[in-house]
Amino acid sequence: MSAQVITVTSGKGGVGKTTVTANVGMALALAGRKVVCVDADIGLRNLDVVLGLENRIVYDIVHVVEGRCRTRQALIRDKRVPTLHLMPAAQSRDKSAVKPEDMVRICEELRPEFDYILIDSAAGIEEGFRTALAPADLILLVTNPEVSAVRDADRVIGLVEAMGKPVPKLIVNRLKLDMVRRGDMLDTSDVLEILAIELLGVIPEDEQVIVATNRGMPVVLEERSPAGQAFRAIARRLMGEPVPMFPSEDGQGILGWLRRLVRSGGGR
């Protein structure tokens, strides 16, 4: 076994990296894969809380880097889904405590034992960005369908290219279908056309994400949640299954056709 290392990143902060890491990680684990989620947001750890594992932390990634514990000892195993593991970030340190080469070494050590290593990055494009990307085989770029978030995502695509890393795959998070329907928000197709990279998934805005985060029970555990379904679809695509994309409201049925007709007729 040799794990695929997947780094979840973004340009703008707060677009949903931690939510994506926790939920895609858990969805892969629910499908029987051995997964470790690594929190690379040193100093602002969150992944433990979103996963509901915050009470079980003894060691963290900085302890591993400083040789104060073995890599294995810092891993927390999720009791709900036993193939899911977390390597927590340190809360009281700064980003420079883990260097790119440390992250590469830790991943090399974990690779033989897992199917997937998911790394949750810190916001921003400074030191921590390079650290999280250093070991990546695949990069997931999370954005919201908003001008500032898409702009910053574009910058990340350029930086990733300059680092010689593979072109990221896109995740559009917090799409509000009713707003897209009214023409009040960028649709996935707009974001895709502008960024010109491959789409991995679209996650709708879903209140249950916030409820789930408050409970420490990732939303993929909710059978009926729309976001949960989107996360499961992303996990299946990562495992190589062809899963149809979240439907774009624009293209659907007679209403979509009428809408396109009206739009092409008026306003220009």
């Binding site: 001008v147 702009r151 910058r155 928000m185 960028l186 502008i194 008026g266 306003g267």
Partner: protein, 85 residues
């Protein structure tokens, strides 16, 4: 956005957002700000005018892009030597 706005011919927020993004990204990707483009334009005009008559006020210097490839395009209308001197 209401139907009234649509009837008045206002562009949808979605369309405005997309257009703004396209303009912003052309400048971000090429690292050429709108101000710098103006400077480049003036310098092109100055250099070329020493060799050929050009219609300075109609010179356009823009950045275009195709997928992620950027291109600096200068459109320089030449003036008529006889009618202009």
């Amino acid at each position: 956005m209401s139907w009234l706005d649509r009837l008045r011919g206002r562009p949808l927020p979605r369309e405005t957002a997309k257009q703004r993004l396209q303009v912003i990204l052309v400048h971000d990707r090429s690292n050429l700000s709108p101000g710098l483009l103006e400077v480049i334009k003036d310098e092109i005009i100055a250099v070329l005018s020493r060799h050929v008559p050009i219609i300075a006020e109609e010179v356009r210097v823009t950045v275009t892009q195709d997928a992620r490839e950027c291109r600096l395009v200068a459109d320089i209308p030449l003036g008529n030597r006889h009618s202009r001197s």
